[in-house]
Amino acid sequence: MRLARASILSRFWGNLGVITLSSPSIAIVGSGPSGCYIAQYLRKAFPDSRISIFERDPVPYGLLRFGVAPDHIGTKAIAQQFERLFKRDGVEFIGNMEIGKDKSLRELRSEFDIVVIATGLNEDRSLGISGEYLEGIYSAGRITRLLNSHPNENSEGILVGSNIAIIGQGNVAIDLLRLSLLDSEELRSFGVTRKIADLMGKQDSKTISVIGRSPIEKAKFDITMIKEISKFSNVKFTSDIDYTKIIDEDSKQRSEAINFLVTHSPTNAKRIVNFYFGWSTLSFFGSNRVAGVDLVSKQKKMRISVDTVYTAIGFQEAKSASIKKSEHTSGKFDLDRGFLDDGLYCVGWFRRGPVGTIPVSRADAKHVSDAICSDYYSKMQGKVEIR
């Protein structure tokens, strides 16, 4: 339909390209929050454009589907906004198609006027320390993919014991803590498969150590995430915060949130959660399976025995990533605007690094969409003047 209309009109307009200029065709690579938000903004800016989203997974929404904790159903519901892109707004979803592998970026750019890279950063950062590859040490990304039934993730070799260390204190680490305190039935009620729910949901007795490199004032978690943990009444919480050293307002709020958990928890419980602040992880030890972790804080050393470790220290570009940022940041790029090359843009974590929640990705998508529109209209102005 669109092609027929374009070809009829092009007889009148000749090769001036008026049709393509008023409605550029747009490809977005990646269907996570950033890809979907920018599709929303670009659809509003270009109601008649062909907009296609390419996704390497068979299903859309990226980290919203496979990264957001399954019990955060309020956040998960944002997917219902994005569904409308495909159901009503004429945005095409092409799954199982990895750009840079199944189809080259060069080829995609020849097919579309504008290409936006929104592939994110999806490999767990590693600690780079000895013992990291012992059995029983799992990355947060793998665990959240399993909890969210990622089709290409498997639970082979995963065994969750009753003495767990979580390395990291960002929101993903706190997600893993909260999910580790849900029993199998609760996990299943949030859509977790029986196999994974049974692996993670044993709650008879459990000790979880949540270990962060930063002192409390620089701990990465959002306070609301800690407050959410207070719903577990039969867990004993401890922390090594030195309250005499808490001075400024922000660290006061952060330490009060932790302190609330500590003071409101029972003195004896079968489940214990210990928060350790300001401890760097030196190494893991064990023969085949991890048996413990060595930590250091200033000149002090500490050894904690564990049988399971989750690492949650952030994300990075995978070595095997099929589109690498370094390959597109050598020419006339301007990352502040998401501009990589003529007709090639980037958005989200790919553009600005692995920080920021879903609302930040929305603001980022607006920012890059504005840049795309402004470049496009100034280019169109040029064409009109030539005519």
Binding site: I73, G74, P359
Partner: protein
């Protein structure tokens, strides 16, 4: 004569905007405009309009970032809104403290500036796993029928 409708949304994740579009679509018997609160200034209020506000909650019961500029400008300019009518719908998640508090900041400020709230205070709880669209549309129809 029935007033024209101006829908103002304050959003962080886009849910309030998404619902605002559906709310506007069901108001067919009068003129409707939809604005992001961040594109609306406190001097824009006119007594010939009915204002329908939909606003989410951010962080610990705070305003969403999109609502902050309007809130701050109303607070510093303290316009007389005694001839302004509005209805308000709040979004929140009851699994957190301060459920649906974001919109309440705006409601309290509008009231203190003399504006009168009409109809029931609308609410949607994200803990239901649904977006607010459906309940906000039903609520809008009730507000419109009453006004």
């Amino acid at each position: 004569m029935s007033k024209n409708v101006v829908i103002l949304f304050g959003t962080e994740s886009g849910n309030a905007e998404f619902a605002a579009e559906d709310m506007a679509a069901v108001i067919t018997d009068r003129k409707v405009q939809v604005f992001d609160m961040s594109d609306f200034s406190s001097e824009n209020f006119e007594s010939t309009n009915l204002y329908i506000l939909i606003c989410s909650t951010h962080g610990e019961g705070d305003l969403p970032s999109g609502a902050v500029p309007l809130y701050e400008s109303m607070k510093s300019l303290t316009p007389d809104l005694s001839d302004i009518e509005y209805a308000i719908f709040g979004l929140g998640d009851s699994s957190y403290e301060n459920y649906s508090r974001g919109s309440e900041h705006i409601d309290a400020l509008l009231t203190s500036l003399g504006a009168s709230r009409i109809g029931e205070y609308g609410r949607h709880d994200a803990q239901t796993g649904t977006l607010p669209n459906e309940s906000a549309v039903t609520w809008t129809q009730e507000i419109i029928a009453q006004s």
